[in-house]
Each structure stands twice: as C-alpha cells, then as structure tokens.
Symmetry: C2
Subunit: 391 residues, 2 copies
Amino acid sequence: MPRVKCPKCSKVETILKSGFIRQKQRYYCKECNYNFTLNHESRKAKNKTRKNYQTTIVDIGNAMGISATTVSRALRNHPDISPATTLAVQQVALQMEYRPNLLARNFASKQTQTIGVIIPHLQSTFFSSMLGGIQKVASKNGFKVIICLSNEDYQTELENVQALMDSRVDGLLVCHSASTTAFDYIENYSKKGISIVNFYRTSPSPKTSKVLAKNTEGAEKVTEHLLEQGCKRIGIILGPKSLTITEERLLGYLNILKKNKIKPDKELIAYTDYSNVSINSVVDDWLNLDQRPDAIFCISDRSAIYVIKHLKKRKIKVPNEIAVVGFGNDLMGELIEPSLTTYNIQTSVIGETTMQLFLQQYKNEADSEIQIQTIDGDLLVRESSIKKKEK
Amino acid sequence: MPRVKCPKCSKVETILKSGFIRQKQRYYCKECNYNFTLNHESRKAKNKTRKNYQTTIVDIGNAMGISATTVSRALRNHPDISPATTLAVQQVALQMEYRPNLLARNFASKQTQTIGVIIPHLQSTFFSSMLGGIQKVASKNGFKVIICLSNEDYQTELENVQALMDSRVDGLLVCHSASTTAFDYIENYSKKGISIVNFYRTSPSPKTSKVLAKNTEGAEKVTEHLLEQGCKRIGIILGPKSLTITEERLLGYLNILKKNKIKPDKELIAYTDYSNVSINSVVDDWLNLDQRPDAIFCISDRSAIYVIKHLKKRKIKVPNEIAVVGFGNDLMGELIEPSLTTYNIQTSVIGETTMQLFLQQYKNEADSEIQIQTIDGDLLVRESSIKKKEK
DNA sequence: AACGATAGTGCAAACGTTTGAGATAGAAAA
DNA sequence: TTTTCTATCTCAAACGTTTGCACTATCGTT
C-alpha cells in the first residue's frame, strides 16, 4: 500500500501501483483515472544550477531589465539599438562571461558562417598552401573553414560533401579527387541554393564557378623550355583523363610540339592516377623503349619527385640522360637533388581567389553569375632540366 | 486618403497613415486604436513552398500518419521503436530524400559529434600525418574533425580554442604553438566539462591527458648514434624553452653526454622558435666559433632541413664536416641530399592514440582519469650522419 | 478479477537565438 | 495643432530536433 498522494485529488486511498516505467514506480489514481510517477524535479531548476551552465542572452536581459531581443541585437551591433544600450549590453556580457551559443545562433539564423573545403590530401605542401590562401581570406571575412580530405577517393568525396551539406555550410569549395569521374552531384547541390566554387582540379561542368591555373599556357612554357634544352623526345605523365587539368596541359604540350613540327608520339603520353605505383610503371615502360625519352614532363611536382627518385634508383642521370620537370611548385621540389624545374602556379593565390569568388557569390546571391578565373604562373627553372653541364 | 481596411474593424474611413516602418507604409485605425502595415504573407506558407525546402521529420511523420517523435527515434534506431516501424520510417525517409538538419539536431541534443584539433601549421607533412591518424579514428567512430591552425602563434591558438568552444565541439585535441607559454587556459576549459587531450607538443600542466613521443629516449638514441660516429662536439638546436619536448629532449642529450663523461658546452645548446631566421643565426654563430661543432642535432626535421640547406650554402660538407640529424621523421627528410638521419616518432600513431584517448574519456566521463601515453619510436639512420665516407 | 510488467507510440516542452512586426514616445514637419 | 516620421525597444513566433514522461494495449501472473 503505497503512501502516495494523487497529484490531482491529493487522496492517498485511491492510489494503486500500475507497473514500472523507465525504472520508476508508476501509480494510478482510481478516482481521477490518472497515471503518474514520483520525483518530478523541475528540469529548469536543474539546468540553471548545473556547474557548467553558460549565461544566455536571457540572463543578460534579466540582469539588465531589458528584453533578450534587445540584447541579441545589441551584441550584433544592430542599428535599431541605441549606442548607449549597445555599449552597456556589451559590457555586461563581458562581465557575465557571456559567449554566444553558436549552435543556437546558427540554427535560428540558418547561417553558419562556415564554408567547407574538400581537397584530395595533405601529403605535400601543395594543397595545404591553397588552404592557407583560403583560410586567410575566410578569417578576414569572419568565416570558418571545415576541411575534408577525399584521399583521392570519389566515394569519400561524396560523403564529405553530404556531411558538409548536412552541417549546413554556407558554401563549398571543392578540388576534385583523381578518381572522380562524375561531377553532376555538384550541380544538384548548387541547385539547392548554396554556392559552390570549383578550384584547381575542376570538372568540365559549366554550372559552377571555377578558379584555374593557366594550365595550357604553363604546359606550353614548360615544353618550350625543354625543347630549348635540346630535348627531342619528351614524355608527359598526366593525371586521370577525367580531369580538365589533364586535358588542358596535354593541349599545351601538343601545341608546342605542333608549333615545332614534332609529331607527338602516343607512347610518350601516359595517364596515371597520381599514385607512386602507376607512375613508376610508366617510367619503367619508357626505360624499356628502344628510343627512351630524354625528358619527362610531369603534371605534378609530386609525380616528378617520384620520377626522379625512381630514375636515381635505376641509375639514370637527371637531368643529363633524362630531364625532369614538374608542375605546380611544391616546397619539396626545392629540396630534392637535383632541384626541380617546375611551373609555379601560385597555389596560395588560387586559394585566396577561390574564397573571394565564393564571397562575391554569397553576397549578391541574386545575380550570382558563374565566373571562371585563371591565375597567372611562371616558369621556375632549376637544376632538373638544365642539360648543359656535360659539354 | 488611403483605401485600406482596418484588419480589426474592417472600416476604411478611420484609417490614417502613421509613418514608415521598415520601408513599408504603416497605418493607424482611429477607431480600434490599432497600428498595422500591409502585405502580411504567411511565413509558413512562404517557407514550405520555397524551392530549396528540405523535408523534415515532421513531413515524414505527416506522410506516414505517425508522430515526429517516432520518426526521430526510428531514424536513430532507438530501441523503443518496433523494428517494423523503424524500417518503414527509414525507407520513407530515403524516398523523401530526407537529410537530418544537423544544426537543429546538435542544438537540441547539445552534442556535435565533432572534435576540434589545433595544430601549429601544415607546412610539412609532419602534422598532417598526425591529422591523418586522428581523422582515421574519428571517422571510424562517427566524429567529425575541425582543424585549426595556430601558425605558431599563441593569440591565434587562443582564438581558435574560443571559436571551437563557441561551436560546442565535444572535445579538443591540442598541440601547442611554439610561442605558447601560458597553458592555464586549457584548465579553464577542461573544468567546463569538455575533455581535452594534449598531444605531441604538450604543456607541463598536470590537468589534461597527454600523448607524447619518447622524447628523452629518442634524444638519447640520437646522441649515442652521433658519438658512435666519432662526433666530439654535438650542437643541439632546440625549440622554445616553454615546451616540454624541448626539456625532455635536452635531458636525453645531456644524459648521454654525462654517461660518456663529456662536459656539455653551453655554447652548443641553442633555443629557437623553429623559424628559419632563428635557426640560421644559430648555425652562423656556431660556424664562427673557434671550435666548431662536428654534429648538429635538431629537435625537428624541418629545422634540420634548414640547417642542411644553410650549411650547403656556406659550403660546409654534410656529414663529413658537420653531421646533421633531425627528430620526427618528416617525409622531406627522405628527399633532401644527403638524406636525413632522424628519430622516427610514429606521427600517425600519435594521432590515432590521441583520438582514442579522447574517446575513452568521452565515453565514461564520470571516471575520466588523466592519462599520459608515450608512443614508441626508432632511430632511422640515413646519410646525413654517417661520417665514414672519407677514410 | 486484480495486478504488474512491458512494448510501442505520442505529447509537449525545451534548447538559445533570430526575426518580423507591433508599440511607444518624442521630434520634426505641415 | 495635427500629422508624419523616426529611434528604440518589446513581443511572440519560429527554427527542427531531442527528450522526459504519459498513455494505451497487451500479455502474463497471481
């Protein structure tokens, strides 16, 4: 016989036990036909006394005898609020160690002031340098940056995009993975209203803004340089066919060969997935050729470094037997022996421009036109391509 | 005379214009003593018809004739919900292309399933490799990772921590900047209830869990190796005094000198802030000494690379005149000529362990004890320390 | 029949902020 | 004056989810 009062009629006699619910005894009042359990602690009270309770704008409002709305506006320097009030609120906020709850703020405003960046990897300083550019412009404009690595995997890229969308980032800056061949998913998202900027490794899709290096021009300069060094058979190691950087650079290479009346040799045009394995096998194939190439133009510095290391292992002299040039200008190229001739695309500038382009689109979403910007670069001649030593 | 009806009494004659408010004409009804403006579009209707409206659990509930609560639980595989319902809900959710609104979810649940990571920079593959380890374990456990770079600046580190706390991350993994000398802020936050793990570059504070490399042991091995190579005067280039890695490695160095009855020379112990400038000036100082060192032990691979490059510029032969060793095992060490002897701390393992430690603490927050874990490493002998060539 | 347990579901509050629009008082203009 | 305007502040709804607890139906046990 439980000695329990009914919360409605306050009687004791009419109470019956009526099972357990969530580890608690449950009671039933015959009279009132009402079920209940004990231990109704006020949730509110519990929260407010918790030791890591954070002050809210309501607390500030109460403390100052004004509404939370005014506090909210004052903290954000809203013009509706008088300067005096604004100042006072901000001081009290500081005193009370108020920190905005971004979860609540973002939720209420549907804006996160955050952009998601997707890059293939961080195994060289190449992409991290672009990141640097992005971060710089972002933080100057009050944006946070979430970085996701696709590890050159299409599936991961997709998952990352999905996760970022779920987190309601305000924008997406993406540099595709080497294994990405379908780019339409981007269009789907950009239809949903968030602006996307594609950078460096871009898709052929015409629906997004893009920031590119001067790929064709760069490849032309590199190829010209190699010809000037007296190279006759220039092998080119490309990335995957699906990426436009591959196409564009190949074009530059072919342009110069044509201009110099050299017939391109299909055997010397190789596509890879940027992996160590695929690159080494290309090099091995070429070394087995009757007519070896006397220069190798790599579409990335990382590939070029793999090539140099592999050639060294095979006791081939770089640059005298085979010259090697890269593309991009990664910090590593300076370190390796011989130091790497490369086309310096300004990675950091690409990053900055990408973020700026996003900001432009974000601000005037109405008339956001698709823009394509290309960033200048320059040839950086170092040791790996200078054949003159032997004379 | 405006032809406007009062929304209350529906009269036209009683209406007066009463100023502008937010670009809209405002009216006043004399009779009802009521102010109003026109153009009351239903916000609700507006939202639901917007082109990028996202389905919510309420929509799913309505579609299926069940409550949003049940949908919410079903989507998260809550045991209260019957398997049949769960399955059905999940199918409908898929059909309706439902995606959870993480802003709302995080806000309501006060959890973000996100951890913040603070690292000094990404200018070498050193920290990105630790990041890799963290990411791996994190994503396996359904955690997202936000990366912040302090750029070796204390102020930035602080701001990053603040920003992460405002975003209500569930945890913080921090590797201090070189300029950080005050570590107490960490304790403040860990008091607030979120768990923090300090990794690699740790503070002396006893209040947080830590993951360390075997610094002293590693430095001992390195120093021993140099002595075995016949080096008599080993210079050591350290980081800033405030970091424990500096202390610990110095200790290892001193231990071995003592063991071999070599009196340490204060001139050969240099503190730096890891910057190119400060390192080069140390090297220059040493080269001006009457008795130059015959080996330089650098506390980081990046420093070692700066040293090698600088020595090359000054036409000093490495390793024969001066041997150089690093600490850490950065990818770059393999590239430089001569390749760099270094102590391989397993960066990726450090990252993994850090994240695991966090998870442990997070899961049983009640009895979360402070843990300190050290990760094994091994000496990696390459060219830059082998003096035997000349004999 | 009375009671106790349990499984499955729904109700409504809560989370902390933003936001549209109403309210008020005093200033400016007519 | 009367009317219009403006500056400043407040009200209340909304955002999409989670969560504590109530509710119902059903089944098993005395």
